[in-house]
């Protein structure tokens, strides 16, 4: 019990099988893995090895075909769709390769959005959105729309948004994949800074210099950890 509580993420013999026509694709083929509170884990592997699939299962965006995923000791297979949504909202932050900001909303409103979904009071949520954007160094770009921001700036807005409801886990899928070296570096510095503040981080990449920021690196090929 004590041990489980230490583990923020635990995967037990997780398989994800896609049926493409008559063929079965084993995107994940028996993954066992655990992440402790405050860790910074990088998942590395070639394209198509199952990295995104793994991260989406951890993030409760998808359910495994077989095996169990525990988040903070909770068996996610027992949760309803609504409960999974709440888990994502309150416990998990997502950063995607394509930033995925809502184009009609300003940077500030994008950061507010997860708090709106959680019914956080307006005053509190505005205060927090401003703090977060200051934290990622965008205190001056609050009212800009995503298309008025550079790739690096957009990714930092995305990080601020991911942190809005104070998640215990931050999941990043190739966050520097679309960025030049300099912005990529800034983004990675922001992320490792968050880790120092206690946020557990799982980050997918195939770039060794990005993985170098992590405390531990896990390798994956053909749906298996090695």
């Amino acid at each position: 019990m004590d041990e489980k509580e230490m583990k923020v993420i635990e995967l037990q013999d997780v398989k994800k099988i896609y049926e493409v026509g008559a063929e079965k694709v084993y995107a994940l083929n028996g993954v066992n893995m655990s992440v402790e509170r405050g860790e910074f884990v990088a998942i590395m592997g070639p394209s198509g090895s199952g990295k995104s699939t793994l991260l989406n299962l951890i993030g409760c965006l998808d359910r495994p075909t077989e095996g169990k995923v525990y988040i903070n000791g909770i068996d996610t297979s027992e949760l309803s769709g609504r409960e999974l949504t709440e888990l994502r909202r309150d416990t998990i932050g997502f950063v995607f390769q394509q930033y995925n900001l809502i184009p009609t909303l300003t940077a500030f409103e994008n950061v507010e959005l997860p708090m709106i979904f959680k019914n956080v009071a307006k005053h509190e949520r505005e205060k927090r959105a401003e703090e977060l954007l200051n934290l990622v160094g965008l205190g001056k770009e609050l009212q800009r729309k995503p298309r008025e921001l550079s790739g690096g700036q957009q990714q930092r807005v995305a990080i601020a948004r991911a942190l809005a409801n104070e998640p215990s886990i931050l999941l990043c899928d190739e966050p520097t994949g679309n960025l030049d070296t300099k912005s990529g570096r800034q983004v990675m510095e922001t992320i490792s800074d968050l880790n120092r503040r206690g946020v557990t981080i799982v980050l997918v990449t195939h770039d060794p210099s990005t993985a170098a920021f992590a405390g531990r690196t896990v390798r994956i090929t053909d749906g298996r950890l090695i």
Partner: protein
């Protein structure tokens, strides 16, 4: 904030949203202005009948063999409570001769005051003492003027007045008739009364009057029948309502088209925004929240279109009324307002119903599938 999100999504493709709104505007306008016009038309027609609403007509009970009403019955009715005035009429087919030209027409015998009450003179002034009045068609047929002489059943009468042409009436029609005093009538024919036009004190007395006739005059045998014009008026009113409803249903087709266009627009929007929906689901939006945002978009389109459509309908109803009825006084009645409200509600409901399916579809997307969509 959800409102802002919805509003900005609509602003993203202004041309598309405008088209959807125009569709609703046209639909709402068609429904409301036809409703308002129908109501005005009905009101205009009913206005002509309003003063006969408290009239009842007493006729012989043909079903039990009576073909006329005798004097004592007339007197009984005249003396009944609720009766403001009773106008007994005698009717017979007669032959007329004017300057050697002959013809057949209806001859009525009635009191001068009753004639004055029911009809208006176009030429001359109504006087029945030794004189007669003639209907418009008779005057035209025999080229009669006020002061002309006619011969009816061997007796000579002077035409004191020519009556204005009358529209459809339920009791007697003077257009092709000569009206004499009862005395004058009795000189030529020996016939009892054929009809009594009874004006009651109020429309509320109709039922009591019928009851009284049943208990007294018709107590032993059914001698007379009582027709109420009220019922005829109700029938007319109902018919107008049905016609208006039918026209509005046709106009409703245009709203249906608007609905389909909203459905189409929103389905396209759902598809284009699949990835955004996935993102929102990933960062903590319930599927109901997605449903809400899309329905809100449909609602905004509907409200916008309906407000504009209703405003234009007032103008449209005014224009049609002026054009066809020559007066717009019935555009601003409670009934017309009801039709405006109806058009407005139909517009909003159509938009929301059309948005329901796309919104439901958007809300049902699996977060991971939506996110992966390119």
């Amino acid at each position: 904030m959800y409102f802002q999100l919805a509003r900005r999504n609509l602003m993203r493709n202004k041309a598309r949203s405008s088209l959807a709104i125009i569709g609703i505007v046209i639909g709402v306008m068609a429904i409301s202005s036809i409703g308002v016009f129908g109501e005005s038309l009905k009101a205009t027609v009913m206005e002509n009948f309003q003063n006969v609403a408290n009239e009842v007509i007493v006729t012989p009970a043909y079903s039990s063999g009576y073909t006329s009403i005798d004097r004592s019955t007339v007197t009984k009715i005249e003396k009944m409570p609720f009766v403001d005035r009773a106008m007994p009429v005698k009717t017979e087919l007669g032959s007329i001769s004017v300057r050697g030209e002959r013809g057949a027409l209806t001859v009525y015998g009635m009191d001068e005051s009753a004639v004055k009450d029911l009809f208006k003179a176009e030429k001359g002034s109504i006087r029945l003492k030794g004189d007669c009045v003639v209907g418009k068609h008779v005057a035209e047929r025999f080229k009669l003027r006020a002061g002309s002489k006619i011969i009816l059943g061997g007796e000579e009468f002077r035409v004191s007045a020519i009556l204005k042409e009358e529209g459809a009436r339920f009791d007697i029609n003077p257009n092709n008739a000569v009206i004499l005093s009862i005395k004058g009538f009795n000189k030529i024919f020996s016939r009892d009364y054929s009809i009594i036009i009874v004006k009651l004190k109020s429309i509320e007395n109709v039922d009591s009057f019928k009851e009284l006739v049943k208990k007294t005059i018709n107590s032993r045998e059914k001698k007379v029948s009582v027709f109420e014009l009220r019922m005829v008026l109700e029938r007319i009113e109902k018919t107008f309502k049905q016609i208006t409803l039918f026209l509005m249903a046709i106009a409703g087709v245009s709203l249906l088209v608007a609905g389909v266009s909203i459905l189409n627009i929103m389905l396209m929007s759902t598809l284009e925004r699949t990835k955004e929906i996935g993102v929102m689901r990933a960062i903590g939006a319930y599927s109901e929240t997605i449903l809400k945002i899309f329905l809100l978009e449909a609602l905004i389109l509907g409200l916008f279109g309906s407000v504009i459509g209703s405003a234009l309908s007032i103008a449209g109803g005014y224009a049609i009324d002026m054009l066809i009825l020559g007066s717009a006084k019935y555009v601003f009645t409670p009934q017309a307002a009801l039709y405006l409200l109806e058009g407005f509600l139909f517009g909003v409901i159509t938009a929301v119903l059309s948005g329901l399916y796309p919104a439901w579809k958007a809300s049902r997307l699996e977060p991971i599938e939506a996110l992966r969509y390119e």
